[in-house]
Amino acid sequence: MDHIEMQRDDVGAKLGMWVFIFTEILLFGGLFLVYAVMRHRYTADFHQASLQLNTFIGALNTVVLLISSMTVAMSITAVQKKDKRMATILLCITLLCAVIFLVDKYFEWGHKISMTLYPGTDLMQSLKHGYILFFSLYFFMTGLHMLHLVIGAVILVIALTKVRMGLINDEHYVLLENGGLYWHLVDLIWIFLFPLLYLVT
C-alpha cells in the first residue's frame, strides 16, 4: 500500500508549486478586479480615504518583505553550499522580518480598530460608499495577504527545523525551495498592494 516513496521528483514538486502560485495570483486577481472597478467609480473617495493610511509603515513593511525575500533566496544557496549555520541564520532573519511585518500590521490595524474604522461598525456605515469600499478592501486585501504571510512563515519554520535536523541538505532541498517560492509570492502581492492602497493619493 505504501508506494508513496516510489520516486522522488523535485522538478515535479516545483512545477506543482508554480501552478499553485498561479492559482494564488488569480485569487488576489479577483480582488484587484473589484478594486479597479470601485476605484474607477469612486476615484475621489478612494483618494481621500487612502490619505488615512500610514505610508511610513507601509513603506517600512515593503522594505522588510524585500529583505526577507532576499534572505530566503540566500538560505537556499547556503543549503546548496552545505553551510547549515548560514542557512539557519538567514532563515531566522526571514522569520524575524515576518514578525516585524506582523507587529507593524498590529499597530496599523490596531489604530484603525481603536477608531472603530473597520467593516461593520456604526462609524463605517456612516461614511460615504467610496470610503466604506476602500477601507473594506483595505482590510480584506491586507488581511488575506497577512493570512498568506502566516502560512508562508509556518512553511519556513518547518523548513528551518528540517535544516537543523539535516533533513534538508544540499541534495534534498525542494521543500525549502518551494517555501521560498511561496514567500516570494507573499512579497510580490505586497508589492502590488502597497502602491494600490497607500500611494494612490
Binding site: M6, V11, F22
Partner: protein
C-alpha cells in the same frame, strides 16, 4: 487481442495487502485507482439525492398550482438540486473518477504525482459536501438563491447562504488541488518514450480540464469570500443599495462558472474519444485536431463568460464581443463531433452499451450545443433568456452530454475496475429507458421555453400543462432507467472479465482486470499511435 505482457501474479488493487483492512484501508489509501472509486461511490450517493430532488420538482410541476410543497420549499429544492448536481457531481465528475482511475494507467504511470494530496483532495471534497448538507439544516433555513448565488439577493436573503457558500469554497479548493496534481502527473510521469502527441486522448482532455480548474476556480473562491464578507459586514461590493455593482458579481461568478462548464464537458469528450475507436475497431480520425481542440476549448472557453449576461445591462461592444467568442468556441466542439462521426465511418461498429452511450452523447450534445447558439445570438437570446429553454439547453449539455458520457465510461471501464462483466442486454434496456426518458423530460421544455415559460417558477399557466406532464412522465421513465442500470451494475453474478473484453488498445487493457496495486512492473512499450487498429 494484444499480448498480456504485464500479467503478473500480484494481487489486485481491490484486495487489502497493507496493515489496514476493510474500510480503513480504503479511507487511508493513496492508490489512484482506489481514490477514483472513493469518488465514484461518493458521487453516486450524491447523484441519487440530487436525482430524487429533481423528481420531486417534476412531481410538483405535474399540474399548475401547489401539489404537495410550497414555493419557498421549491426554491430551496432547486437550489440544493443545482448545488449538488453542479458542485458535487459534474464539476469533479469524470475528471476525478476516471482521471484518477485510468489516466495514470493510460500514460504508463504507477500513480499520480502527489498521491497523498490526491487523498487530501477527496477529504476536502467530502468536507465541502458535508458543509453544503449542513447548510440545509442550520441557520434560518436552506438557501433559496439558486446555485449561482446572484447578488444582491444572496447578500440579503435571510436563509443560510454563508454555510452553502463556504461549502462551495472548500469544494473549489479540492478541485484546484486535483487540477495541480493532474497537470504535474501528465508533465512528469508519462512513461519513457511517450511524448505529448503519443498520449491517448483522454489524458489530453484531462490535461486541458486541469488547467481550467487551476486558472478559473480561484476567481470563484475569492468571489464567494466577498459574498460572505458582504453579508457579515454590509460592505457593498455588489449590493447597489450600498453602492456596489451586481453586474460585477455576475462577471466574477461567470469568469469561473462558464469555464466550469468546460471542466465538466472536456473529460466527457475525452471519454467519448476513447470509447468510439474501441467499438469501431478503427483508428481515431484526426488525432491532433482532437487533442488541440481540447486546448482550444479551454482557451477560448475562458473568454465567453459574458454570454450569460446579455440581458444584464452590459455595453453593446461587450455583448458583441462575447457573442462572437461564443460562436467561436463552438468551432472546436464541432471539430470533435465531426471527428467522432468520421471515426465511425466504415468502422466495424459493435453496438455494446458504452458505444450506445457514446452515440447518445453525440446526439444529445449536438442538440444542446446547437440550442446554445440560439442563446449566443443576441436577438434570439432576449426571447429565450431565463426561460425553460435555457433549462432544456443546459440539461442537454450537462446531463445528455456529461451524464451520458459518465454512464458510458462506467460501462466501458467497469470490467477493468471490478474484474467482472455486467449483463449487456439489461444494460441496453436501461440505456433505452434513459434515452427515451431523457428526451421526453427535456425536449418539451424547449418548446414551452420559446412560448415563454420562465425557469425556476413554482407555478405556470394552464397552456403549459401538456408539456410539463410529458416532462414529468419522462422524468419517471428516466428514474426507472437508473434503477435498472444500478441494479444491473450491482448484481454480482457477471462472468469474470478478461483483461481486454472490448479489444481496446490503450495501456489499461494490457493490465489484468482488475489491475494490481502497482500498475506496471516494467514500463510498458509505447506505440507510435495509441489507436493502432489497422
Amino acid at each position: 487481442m494484444t499480448g498480456n505482457t504485464n500479467l503478473h501474479e500480484e494481487p489486485s488493487y481491490l484486495i487489502d495487502t497493507g496493515k489496514r483492512k476493510g474500510i480503513m484501508a480504503w479511507l487511508t489509501t493513496t492508490d489512484h485507482k482506489r481514490i477514483g472509486l472513493l469518488y465514484l461511490w461518493s458521487i453516486m450517493v450524491f447523484f441519487i439525492v440530487g436525482g430524487i430532488l429533481g423528481e420531486t420538482m417534476r412531481t410538483e410541476l405535474f399540474k399548475p398550482g401547489q401539489q404537495f410543497y410550497g414555493p419557498q420549499t421549491y426554491n430551496a429544492i432547486f437550489t440544493l438540486h443545482g448545488l449538488i448536481m453542479i458542485f458535487l457531481i459534474v464539476i469533479p465528475g469524470l475528471s476525478v473518477v476516471f482521471g484518477n482511475f485510468v489516466m495514470p494507467i493510460m500514460i504508463g504511470a504507477n500513480d499520480v504525482a502527489f498521491p497523498r494530496l490526491n487523498l487530501f483532495a477527496w477529504y476536502l471534497y467530502i468536507l465541502g459536501a458535508a458543509v453544503v448538507v449542513i447548510s440545509q439544516f442550520t441557520g434560518n433555513g436552506p438557501p433559496d438563491t439558486g446555485w449561482t448565488f446572484y447578488a444582491p439577493y444572496s447578500t440579503q436573503t435571510h436563509t443560510n447562504v454563508i454555510a452553502a457558500v463556504s461549502g462551495a469554497f472548500i469544494l473549489g479548493f479540492s478541485s484546484i488541488l486535483t487540477g495541480i496534481n493532474f497537470i504535474v502527473t501528465i508533465h512528469r510521469l508519462r512513461t519513457p518514450g511517450m511524448g505529448f502527441f503519443k498520449m491517448p486522448l483522454l489524458p489530453w482532455a484531462i490535461y486541458a480540464t486541469a488547467w481550467i480548474q487551476v486558472l478559473a476556480t480561484p476567481v470563484i473562491g475569492i468571489t464567494l469570500l466577498m459574498i460572505i464578507a458582504e453579508r457579515m459586514f454590509h460592505i457593498g461590493f455588489f449590493d447597489p443599495a450600498l453602492g456596489g455593482d451586481p453586474v460585477l458579481y455576475q462577471h466574477l461568478f461567470w469568469i469561473y462558472s462558464h469555464p466550469a462548464v468546460y471542466i465538466m464537458i472536456l473529460p466527457a469528450m475525452g471519454v467519448i474519444t476513447e470509447i468510439i475507436p474501441t467499438f469501431c475497431q478503427k483508428q481515431i480520425y484526426g488525432y491532433k485536431a482532437i487533442a488541440i481542440s481540447s486546448l482550444a476549448i479551454a482557451g477560448v472557453g475562458y473568454f465567453v463568460w459574458g454570454h450569460h449576461m446579455f440581458t444584464s445591462g452590459m455595453s453593446k461592444e461587450a455583448i458583441w464581443t462575447f457573442s462572437l467568442l461564443t460562436f467561436l468556441v463552438a468551432v472546436p466542439s464541432a471539430i470533435k463531433v465531426f471527428n467522432w462521426v468520421a471515426t465511425m465511418y466504415k468502422g466495424s461498429i459493435d453496438l455494446k452499451p458504452p458505444l450506445l452511450y457514446a452515440i447518445a452523447f453525440i446526439f444529445l450534445f449536438s442538440i444542446g450545443g446547437l440550442t446554445g447558439l440560439i442563446q449566443g445570438a443576441l436577438a434570439t437570446d432576449i426571447q429565450v433568456h431565463d426561460t425553460s429553454f435555457v433549462v432544456a439547453h443546459f440539461h442537454y449539455i450537462i446531463f445528455g452530454g456529461v451524464g451520458f458520457a459518465f454512464l458510458g465510461a462506467i460501462h466501458y471501464w467497469y470490467p477493468k475496475m471490478f474484474g467482472r462483466m455486467y449483463n449487456i442486454r439489461v444494460a441496453n434496456v436501461a440505456w433505452g429507458f434513459l434515452f427515451i426518458g431523457f428526451n421526453l423530460l427535456y425536449f418539451p421544455q424547449f418548446i414551452i421555453g420559446i412560448e415563454g415559460m420562465p425557469r425556476r417558477y413554482f407555478d405556470y399557466l394552464p397552456q403549459f400543462t401538456w408539456a410539463q406532464q410529458i416532462s414529468t412522465i419522462g422524468g419517471y421513465i428516466l428514474g426507472i432507467g437508473f434503477i435498472i442500470l444500478i441494479v444491473n451494475l450491482f448484481r454480482k453474478n457477471g462472468a469474470k472479465a478478461t483483461s481486454n473484453p472490448w479489444g481496446g488498445k490503450t495501456f489499461e487493457w494490457q493490465l489484468p482486470s482488475p489491475p494490481p496495486m502497482e500498475n506496471f512492473a516494467t514500463p510498458p512499450a509505447v506505440p507510435d499511435n495509441p489507436y493502432d487498429y489497422d
